[in-house]
């Protein structure tokens, strides 16, 4: 169990994490979602006592991180895959961590096997690919067989097989009763793994909800239709108590209707339809909507924007 209370971090005048309070509970996978620069990594570094909070606190099973005697046995973390010494072998990188926490050396071989790096255990980690580095980071997180696991964007750089593997690993670890806290900027990824969801934007808490609730509330289903007789169609729909909304390109969208209902209505009034379909807003859209006002780094589409090299008075 990890409890955050009013956690705040400022870098100079920039507020990276703004008064965050939430609880990460055991036995479930908690997804930590936010766009680039939302403050996910900063929050995780503060949880591990690497960055000092400007104010607020983090408790791990009621204790401050520095009070943990052998922290690797409580909490394992994958922060960034490159947090190893490239000139050292995979085995020695893990061995020195194990020794610092009195973890038997035999455990090093075990976790290397778990992540599938046994064959390169004696190789310097400098030459590791992105995915191998990620696996080594996961091995170091698993080293102490901890009850809390924290992963910062674990699927970064993994191939589809690796992504599948880490998904199952997280589910299995949670099923064993462990606390899993995992960050991502992909809602679709979280929908597959997480049971609980915490969304932040510009350092502020935007949502703290169960995944099921989030899906229920945010996957709006609606009917989309196109017709050459739009004016008449609108009138007919209004008369039957439906409210079509113009959605561009001559399409209409109706919330809370079924295709059967709309199709029969059109047939009854002999209105030609060019399209009639049932739609579901993706979770990704819901996430983007939620964080739209909090996205820090907006991309600008290149075409139609004129020269992009003109100096801007404000940073992007």
């Amino acid at each position: 169990m990890i409890e955050l209370e009013g956690l705040t971090k400022r870098f100079g005048s920039k507020v990276a994490v703004d008064d965050l309070s939430f609880t990460v509970r055991p036995g479930v996978v908690t997804g930590f979602l936010g766009p680039n620069g939302a403050g996910k990594s900063t929050t995780m570094r503060m949880m591990l006592d690497l960055d000092n909070p400007t104010s607020g606190s983090v408790r791990i099973d009621g204790k401050h991180y520095r009070e943990l005697q052998e922290p690797l046995k409580y909490i394992g973390a994958l922060l960034d895959a490159k947090a190893m010494h490239g000139g050292r072998t995979a085995y020695h990188n893990l061995l020195c961590l194990a020794q610092a926490n009195r973890i038997p050396a035999s455990r090093v071989a075990e976790v290397l096997d778990t992540v599938g790096l046994t064959a390169v255990a004696k190789k310097k980690t400098k030459g590791f690919s992105l995915g191998m580095g990620q696996r080594l980071g996961i091995a170091s997180a698993l080293l102490g067989d901890p009850e809390i696991l924290m992963f910062d964007e674990p699927v970064n750089g993994l191939d589809p097989e690796g992504i599948h593997w880490i998904r199952n690993l997280m589910k299995q670890l949670a099923a064993e009763g462990r606390t899993i806290f995992v960050s991502s900027h992909l809602m679709s990824e979280m929908a597959l793994t997480a049971d609980h969801l915490i969304v932040i934007g510009q350092g502020r808490l935007l949502a703290d909800t169960s995944m099921a609730d989030f899906i229920h509330q945010n996957s709006r289903s609606y009917v989309r239709l196109r017709s050459p007789q739009q004016e008449r169609l609108r009138d007919v729909l209004h008369q039957s108590g439906l409210t079509p909304v113009e959605a561009g390109n001559g399409t209409l969208e109706i919330d809370g209707a079924t295709t059967e209902q709309v199709g029969e209505l059109a047939a009854e009034h002999r209105i030609v339809l060019h399209e009639l379909s049932s739609q579901r807003a993706s979770l990704e859209e819901a996430f983007m909507q939620m964080t739209a006002s909090a996205v820090e780094y907006h991309a600008h589409s290149a075409p139609g924007h004129g020269p992009q090299w003109a100096p801007r008075d404000k940073g992007a």
Binding site: G27, R45, L68, Q69, E70, M84, H85, G87, C96, L97
Partner: protein, 276 residues
């Protein structure tokens, strides 16, 4: 679909119990960890290897040169011929000392290290101890072997027990303390190249500056720089001080210990306060 929080009754520690028992780790575990780190990187082998080669090479060549130049045995202890080898070798120790901490920042390993051992004091102490003992043993043993060979080549037979003690254990302690100073500076600067440059400046600059102080008004400053520069202090251990005054006997060791202690204390404070 999924139940968000399965009710698990009063389980303050969560439901999962690790089979690996949790005991209290202490400094000994951190020492084991740091020993693994220092012996599993190439830079240790390279820096200490080059130092040994320098001490042997320069020490033996100068002994051969001395014995060839004068057929009569020299008045002074031949052990003082070890001075230049140790002085040059100390550059290697400076490099290793800086790298011991700064390379962890360069690679990002420091985050992993501090996650495994959140006590900054314990990490720094373990690093300092392991590094100090390793350098002390290597330097002292090498100096002893080189000294014995020098005596055999250009036998003077005038080296007293005290001469021997200062040229081996004394030099070993001095170089190891200089290394600790570098380790502290490495932790403060957190950048290998920057910290190494600073340390080489600390060793060489006072002498170079003193050479250019012609003005009478600067005489005192010049003398101070000459007497207390790091090469001069090392020279004191070989009874070859640059000038008559300044530190004598074992004093250079106390001075160096003070400097190393101050750098480590500052490094500890910085490590404790700063974000990693």
């Amino acid at each position: 679909m999924t139940t968000p929080y399965p009710q698990q009754g009063p389980h303050p520690q969560g439901a999962y119990d690790s089979p690996i028992p949790v005991r209290a780790a202490h400094l000994g575990d951190a020492l084991a960890s740091e020993w693994t780190k220092i012996r599993s990187v190439r830079s240790t082998l390279w820096t200490l290897g080059v130092m040994i080669v320098l001490m042997f090479g320069i020490g033996l060549l100068s002994a051969v040169a001395v014995s060839a130049a004068s057929p009569e045995p020299p008045e002074e202890s031949v052990l003082s011929l070890g001075f230049f080898g140790v002085l040059l070798g100390s550059i290697c120790v400076i490099t290793l000392g800086v790298m011991t901490v700064a390379s962890e920042y360069g690679t990002g390993m420091i985050r992993t290290t501090l996650t495994a051992c959140p006590s900054r004091a314990r990490v720094l102490t373990a690093k300092a101890l392991v590094f100090f003992l390793l350098v002390f043993v290597i330097t002292t043993v090498t100096a002893a072997i080189v000294g014995a060979l020098q005596t055999a080549i250009a036998d003077a037979g005038v080296s007293s027990g005290e001469d021997w003690f200062r040229a081996t254990v004394g030099a070993g302690l001095f170089v190891a303390l200089l290394g600790l100073l570098s380790l502290g500076v490495g932790a403060l600067i957190r950048h290998s190249a920057g910290a190494i440059t600073i340390m080489i400046g600390v060793v060489l600059l006072p002498l170079v500056l003193a050479l250019f102080m012609f003005s009478e008004s600067l005489r005192e400053v010049q003398e101070f720089l000459l007497e207390y520069s790091i090469p001069s202090q090392l020279g004191v251990l070989y009874d070859t001080p640059v000038t008559g005054q300044g530190p004598s006997g074992w004093e250079p060791l106390w001075i160096m210990a003070g400097l190393a202690g101050a750098a480590l204390a500052a490094a500890y404070l910085a490590l404790d306060r700063r974000d990693v």
